[in-house]
Symmetry: C2
Subunit: 146 residues, 2 copies
């Protein structure tokens, strides 16, 4: 869970580099990072920071966004439900209530994501029965302390 995408981004970088027909050391120089580190990044042994990622992108002359997407650090599109906007905009509830609503809504979304990240339930569908059990549980989200 810690580093599934790390490998993929390394491969992606290596692909791009070889496609540009430049050596590892050369890219390292153009990107302003050390060659050993770049080597490790390409093989998925290290998880580069955003800054390094940005430098590498510059060195490769590709969009930094592309790299971030590959690294799973950015979703290509973030829908960001209207529900949250509505909750935030609502003036008929207290801040406390607002946070409770958001908490609950969040946990629902999180569950759906955990179950099957690809298959988000389409509008009219209910979450699968397996999740329904946990949903009852989460109906009273303990924010952090009781």
């Amino acid at each position: 869970m810690e580093l599934p995408k790390v490998g993929s981004i390394g491969e992606y970088i290596r692909e791009q580099r070889q496609q540009a027909k430049i050596s590892l050391r050369q890219l390292a120089a153009q990107a302003g990072v050390s060659n050993p580190y770049l080597s490790q990044v390409e093989r998925g042994l290290r998880k580069p920071s955003a800054e390094i990622l940005n430098q590498i992108a510059k060195g490769l002359h590709i969009s930094a966004k592309a790299l971030y997407v590959q690294a799973g650090l950015i979703e290509d599109r973030e829908p960001d439900s209207d529900v949250l906007a509505a909750i935030r905009a609502d003036v008929t509830i207290t801040e406390r209530q607002r946070q409770v609503l958001i908490d609950i809504y969040e946990s629902f979304r999180k569950e759906n994501r955990a179950g099957n990240p690809e298959a988000q339930p389409s509008r009219p569908a209910e979450p699968p029965p397996g999740d329904a059990v946990r949903t009852e549980n989460t109906a009273t989200p303990d924010s952090k302390e009781g």
Copy 2:
């Protein structure tokens, strides 16, 4: 040059958080990061990794891209000159020559950026006299070894 934007992103996060009327701890919980760390990030004492940035963005329900842009880790638009594309596409030169051309072109761009980041010379203009001096200097960029 190391951390001018770090402060700004911290402020940005804090602004967004206060605008959402949630406490530091609450955002930390929603983002899945520790509250002390978030505190330090907001005050510019720490430079969060891309992953953390992404989490914070989720916690704030704002686009991760917005945060990256604020952090200076992404340019809102990356023009990425046609020159480079042309050089890369040219089959009448060797890879070695290609790299030399790219190196030189890069160093020119870098100079212009260093001089005045905002005022990039528009097409018909020459770089200002102040820069011209340094340009002569960089006309023979020592890649790394001769």
